[in-house]
């Protein structure tokens, strides 16, 4: 498998990363070198082998979706840019038209 410049552009878009042309070109070479080493894995016979789920003998621990809230040491209004009716308001982008007070 070999990565092309179009592949790098595509995954950069998926990852929300802006790349200059020079950086994209160097990444083609860097990623192909790294993935060349990863191709070693294809030599391992993994027929019938379960993918790792969780770590170690305990598998993936689960718990009820309940419990105490995150123990915030500072209240929301101490670190949120702005609060309204319990919701966090983040700064508006300058490129967005301001239709109301942020």
């Amino acid at each position: 498998v070999s990565i092309s410049i179009d592949d790098v552009r595509h995954i950069a878009t998926l990852a929300r990363l802006g790349l200059t042309d020079d950086r994209a070109a160097s990444l083609v070479q860097e990623l192909n070198t790294i993935l060349g080493h990863m191709d070693e894995l294809s030599k391992v016979d993994t027929a019938g082998v379960q993918e790792a789920i969780g770590v170690g003998a305990r598998g993936l621990p689960t718990r009820t979706d309940a419990g105490p809230p995150i123990p915030l040491e500072r209240s929301l209004d101490a670190f949120a840019p702005s609060l309204r009716e319990g919701l966090l308001l983040v700064p508006r982008l300058s490129s967005h038209e301001s239709t109301e007070e942020a």
């Binding site: 595509h10 802006g18 990444l27 993994t46 790792a52 770590v55 982008l93």
Partner: protein, 483 residues
């Protein structure tokens, strides 16, 4: 190790008996940091320090003095890696993208340290988001090895290892995803412990690769590391992967013996290409253990060679997901671009350094349609095989494994520019993270004046076995040095 700070046990004892005031201990640590050149212009050990903050913690730790049982680390200053959340100092992961971020909650490990009477002392420099093996890839610039300032301290917990090696603190918290505590411990001539996955809560540790991440401990000695780990270990509701399994007193392992212990020597960690001088230091350590009554047994972990390729697929894959949250909206840096997507792309491309960008792209690629089976699924299957290697060896009666920690000693700053060559620095350490087993590095001698680390690995939750062997080896080394 440049021995300057008393051991954690000594400092606690002196504090309890009133022979040392915590404020005086902090003043000494500040002076020591200044004297060794820990600042940005030389060793560059810390990302964030605040002398007044350390003094405030020193005052509040005294409140523990009235307790019937003073904390295990009363009056002991402890440095903390910059990816572990603290309330009063910033938590920036050595990254421009988290510039100025102060967490509204505290990592469980830090809370437990404070409850044990310890004094949080500065946030240590690190490779950005813990991605690196040299602490050269930080927004704050490289950290230098206190023992050889033209060389790297290892990474990514290079600042934590350097803070201990420079004698500023006896204990520092680090984090591990593929060897980021053990490898710098090896390069800096100190002790570094990665506990079993689940032993220490990850709550408040900024996520890199969640199935591999651990909080680990750097210590000047085995005892310092054992006490540090004991203080932070234990179940925590806020980390669903933390294990509700009793925590033994690791420092009690000091009374143990290796007589009758079976120590496995896995052949894959002693390849023909291994530096013969590092092999010699390992053989000397194994000979000492044999003289103490341990049985040294040749064993095999046949899938070891596949650990680096598997790790560098699984870890970037998880990182590409975990680091999606740094988008210019929720944390730190924001750089405006063309619309919302333009803002995301501008913030992330200017906020992340080259190695983080490379790994996010690698992770995105191996998870993307058409490549998932060939890379990610395959790597997770190989991970199962690597874990099975360990299970089989420990089930056969081996108590601990002994290996070199790293294939080389500390290299010169700037010497490694090829990413994959840097990744190979973790060749002997990533296996423990993939399998979730505990492992530790301790000094076993020098090559050309630079420290060499030896690594013990044990079965899940059997940190006591590796601490028992580590204490015994350290004692034997000390006795030989005196003779």
């Amino acid at each position: 190790v440049i021995s300057a700070t008393p051991s954690a046990a000594q400092l606690r004892d002196d504090t309890v008996r009133g022979r040392t005031e915590p404020s005086a201990t902090v003043t000494s640590a500040i002076a020591r940091a200044r004297d060794v050149g820990a600042g940005r212009d030389h060793l560059n050990i810390f990302a964030h320090t605040n002398d007044d903050d350390a003094r405030t913690h020193a005052s509040s730790c005294l409140e523990q003095m009235s307790d019937t049982t003073p904390g295990l680390l009363l009056g002991v200053p402890i440095a903390i890696k910059d990816n572990i959340a603290t309330l009063t100092l910033p938590t920036t992961c050595g990254s421009h993208i988290l510039e100025g971020y102060v967490s509204p909650y505290e990592a469980t490990a830090v809370r437990k340290l404070r409850e044990a009477g310890a004094i949080p002392f500065g946030k240590t420099n690190m490779d950005e988001f813990a991605m690196g093996s040299s602490t050269e890839h930080s927004a704050y610039g490289p950290t230098r090895n206190p023992l050889a300032p033209d060389r790297v301290p290892g990474g990514s917990s290079g600042g934590s290892a350097a803070a201990v090696a420079a004698g500023i603190v006896s204990i520092a918290l680090g984090s591990e995803t593929g060897g980021s505590v053990r490898q710098p411990a090896s390069f800096c001539g100190i002790v570094g412990v990665k506990p079993t996955y689940g032993r220490v809560s990850r709550f408040g540790l900024v996520a890199f690769a969640s199935s591999l991440d651990n909080i680990g401990v750097c210590g000047a000695t085995v005892d310092d590391a054992a006490r540090g780990l004991h203080a932070v270990a234990g179940y925590d509701w806020f980390d669903s992967t933390s294990a509700n399994i009793p925590v033994p007193d690791y420092h009690e392992a000091r009374a143990g013996s290796v007589k009758g212990m079976v120590i496995g020597k896995p052949k894959e960690y002693f390849p023909e290409t291994l530096d013969p001088r590092i092999r010699a230091r390992c053989d000397e350590a194994l000979e000492r253990l044999r003289e103490l009554g341990a049985e040294i047994r040749d064993v095999s972990l046949p899938n070891t060679a596949m650990a680096i390729p598997a790790y560098y697929i699984v870890a970037p894959a998880e990182a590409s997901s975990n680091l999606a949250r740094f988008d210019g909206v929720r944390y730190g840096l924001r750089i405006e671009g063309d619309g919302l997507r333009g803002m995301y792309e501008a913030t992330r491309s200017q906020g992340f350094g080259a190695e983080v960008t490379r790994r996010i792209l690698l992770g995105t690629y191996v998870l993307s349609a058409g490549y998932y089976d060939a890379y990610y699924r395959k790597a997770q299957q190989v991970r199962t095989l690597i874990a099975a290697d360990f299970s089989r060896v420990f089930a056969s009666g081996v108590d601990v494994l002994f290996t070199p920690t790293t294939p080389t000693t500390a290299f010169r700053i700037g010497a490694i520019s090829d990413p994959y060559e840097m990744y190979m620095s973790d060749i002997f350490t990533v296996t423990a993270n993939l399998a979730g087993v505990p492992a530790m590095s301790q000094p076993i001698g020098l090559v050309d004046g630079l420290p060499v680390g030896g690594q013990f690995m044990a079965a899940h939750f059997d940190e006591m076995a590796m601490f028992t062997a580590a204490y015994a080896l350290e004692r034997a080394q000390a006795a030989e040095a005196r003779a």
